[in-house]
């Protein structure tokens, strides 16, 4: 067994997939990810195995969801932060297989991540921070106002970063 701490942002799931594949190629089979990014591996025969992450919030139909992947030959590993982890050995594939077979559905997954993860944060951000910023400034509490302003600035930078990632991916292929 070995453990490795790794951080991947929600828009870097492709890097995470490559990381898990590379571990498996070096004889470390992915077991689970826990906490804030602790990856657990166990020793195995080195093999080329494709790892895939899908973002699925529909927990009511989880069994049917997993069944479809299993039918198509994908092993379900776990769910972590609403991402489902699947893998399939390259030797079991007819040609280059992934869990999405067209561009539309690949982008739709990114949109689900956006709507599921960023939108709620954006709502909280608009509902709490923005009024606080203005209330404090207009009441002369400049220090507090600036603190909220600082958090706002961090948010804006983060959103810009995510939006940039999304559009780059959208135009990539």
């Amino acid at each position: 067994m070995k453990k490795e701490f790794k951080y991947f942002s929600i828009f870097n799931h492709e890097k995470e997939e490559e990381y898990l594949r590379s571990q498996h190629q070096h004889g470390w089979e992915f077991v689970k990810v826990t906490g804030i990014g602790m990856y657990h591996f166990q020793e195995c025969e080195p093999e080329d195995v494709i790892y895939q992450l899908d973002y699925n919030q529909d927990t009511n139909n989880k069994e049917e969801y997993i069944q479809m992947f299993v039918d198509c030959g994908w092993e379900y590993i776990q769910e972590y932060a609403q991402f489902s982890y699947f893998r399939k050995p390259v030797s079991d594939m007819v040609d280059d297989e992934r869990i999405f077979s067209d561009e539309t559905s690949r982008l739709e997954m990114l949109e689900r991540v956006y709507k599921g993860r960023l939108l709620p944060v954006l709502v909280i951000f608009s509902a709490c921070l923005l009024p606080q910023f203005f209330i404090n400034l207009s009441n002369g509490r400049y220090f507090l106002g600036m603190m909220f302003g600082g958090v706002l600035a961090i948010y804006i930078v983060l959103f810009a970063y995510c939006a940039y990632h999304y559009y780059r991916k959208k135009n990539q292929r």
Partner: protein, 104 residues
């Protein structure tokens, strides 16, 4: 047919077409994957993430309906609206095909 349906499904993706085409008879997601493979002599291989997402979306948009569930597999069939969209798409494909036979 409303503007949303028209915008999203006319024309539709290749995946969308195969799903609607197959669901003229009730079937489940993996059944569609297998049927499409057979119909296209193994040339089109639909992936599960694509299939699951498309089925959920088409059900939500009223193009297909849930019939029943057998061994954790949801069976769907095409609706009247779905059939209307499919006929439009078939016409479009036929027109493309006819045009492609022309000599220019």
């Amino acid at each position: 047919m409303d503007a949303h349906t028209r915008k999203v499904y006319v024309p539709m993706t290749e995946t969308g077409f195969y799903i609607l085409f197959c669901l003229q008879k009730p079937n489940h997601g993996y059944g569609i994957v297998q049927l499409v493979e057979k119909l296209t002599n193994g040339e089109i291989h639909l992936a599960p993430g694509t299939m699951y997402g498309s089925l959920s979306k088409m059900e939500k948009d009223g193009l297909i309906r849930f019939v029943n569930e057998v061994e954790k597999r949801k069976i769907y069939e095409i609706t009247a609206l779905g059939n209307e969209v499919l006929q439009l798409e078939l016409k479009r494909i036929q027109r493309l095909y006819t045009t492609s036979r022309e000599v220019i």
